[in-house]
């Protein structure tokens, strides 16, 4: 069990089913190959040799992420990886986003949670296709899970793919899924200094949604300070103040999504022309 967050990653379910076990980042511990000694008790007199490996720990994840990115580009799909702590209002914001887009843009959602299908059910109720990945004890989605999920979804050309990562402000920062952007959601019911406490995520994101802004009059949260902290970590971070409840900032967020979708679709068309 992980000493940091209790994650284990052995109980993954995608759409309620076990993924195929293979050689990817999700691979489960395989029994040692025949002839391999595994115990301490067999004293060996064989000579040690040093093997230079020089391999990045995330190399496998990054291979899957690159393959996902190629597939998404080929289909003109604008993919966003939404990350935050639990309770920031990600799912409510997604539901509101789907409702406001009102079918004008084909979209699909991948939901990541340790347990339950609840979030996927909420998304489906809002009218969008959703696939739930349950990571079991795992504390983040990885690129191989997304590759497997994408295979099982009927993703449309020139569409939007929203990936709601497991609520965790630490682990998902390091795992590229092949998305166009990480979008970090910080709600005003959290502390202003979260960006300083959890800098990795704010560094990895391109957009921050400062959510639940309708509550600002009732809180002592200093929104300007939160933005200042976030941009201290990442000077290029764009910020939208938003409220899924009051609708504040939704137009700007939807415009940002539409612009990304248009650019991605144009990229696909150029790619198709080049390949013709």
């Amino acid at each position: 069990m992980c000493g940091t967050c209790g994650c284990g990653g052995r109980d993954v379910l995608i759409g309620g089913k076990r993924p195929v076990r293979g050689s990817g980042v999700l691979s489960f511990r395989k029994p040692a190959p025949a002839g391999v000694e595994t115990g301490h008790d067999q004293e060996s007199t064989a000579q040690l040799r040093i093997i230079q490996v020089e391999r990045d720990l995330l190399a496998k994840n990054n291979e899957y992420a690159n393959a996902n990115r190629c597939q998404l580009a080929g289909q003109g799909i604008f993919a966003l990886n939404l990350v935050s702590s639990p309770g920031s209002g990600k799912t409510t914001l997604l539901v509101k986003t789907i409702t406001e887009l009102n079918g004008a843009l084909p979209l699909a959602v991948i939901e990541g949670d340790q347990q339950t299908e609840n979030d996927a059910a909420r998304i489906r109720a809002a009218g969008a296709p959703a696939l739930q990945i349950n990571t079991g004890k795992g504390c983040h989605l990885d690129a191989r899970m997304i590759a497997q999920a994408m295979q099982r979804m009927d993703l449309q050309e020139d569409s939007l793919l929203l990936i709601e990562n497991v609520g965790n402000l630490v682990c998902p920062a390091g795992f590229d899924l092949g998305e166009a952007h990480k979008v970090v959601i910080l709600s005003v019911t959290e502390g202003e200094d979260k960006p300083l406490k959890y800098p990795d995520m704010f560094r990895a994101a391109d957009l921050m949604l400062l959510n639940k802004c309708d509550l600002l009059p009732y809180l002592e949260f200093d929104a300007g300070l939160a933005v200042e902290y976030a941009q201290r970590i990442n000077p290029d971070l764009r910020v939208i103040r938003i409220s899924a409840k009051s609708g504040e900032g939704m137009a700007e967020w939807l415009d940002w999504i539409r612009a990304g979708c248009t650019k991605t679709a144009q990229g696909r068309q150029r790619l198709a022309q080049t390949l013709e």
């Binding site: 980042v25 691979s27 511990r29 064989a46 490996v53 391999r55 720990l57 496998k60 983040h140």
Partner: protein, 113 residues
């Protein structure tokens, strides 16, 4: 950062190397972990021992080489030592620092028999 799944990735790299380099037992593993990579060496040690149990690397000695962080100031071009993922350039005060070293997480080498 997710040390458990990173430790699983270490095992995967070891198993792939065992097949290509033809060894049956791993006695030592050297990891290079950058100070800016957000991996806790202690958590990694804990996860490493747990993941390697029952494998060809059970009981292997883990050595972690922590490499220092460094960056380049995008405003003035200065080279900056970095202890955290963010900071201000000591020369010009700009926060626009690009990490150039210290964010890697690599299996450097293995002692095998």
């Amino acid at each position: 950062m997710h040390e458990m799944s990173l430790a699983e990735n270490v095992l995967q790299i070891i198993e792939e190397s065992a097949r290509s380099q033809n060894f049956r037992r791993v006695r030592g593993v050297v990891l290079e972990i950058g100070q800016l990579s957000a991996v806790e060496p202690d958590a990694m040690r804990f996860c490493f021992d747990s993941v390697m149990r029952g494998t060809l690397a059970e009981g292997a000695v883990l050595q972690i080489i922590e490499t220092p962080g460094a960056g380049r100031c995008l405003a003035c071009g200065a080279t900056v030592a970095m202890q955290e993922q963010y900071g201000l350039c000591p020369s010009c005060g700009s926060p626009r620092l690009q990490i150039t070293a210290g964010n890697q997480m690599r299996v450097k080498d293995l002692s095998v028999e």
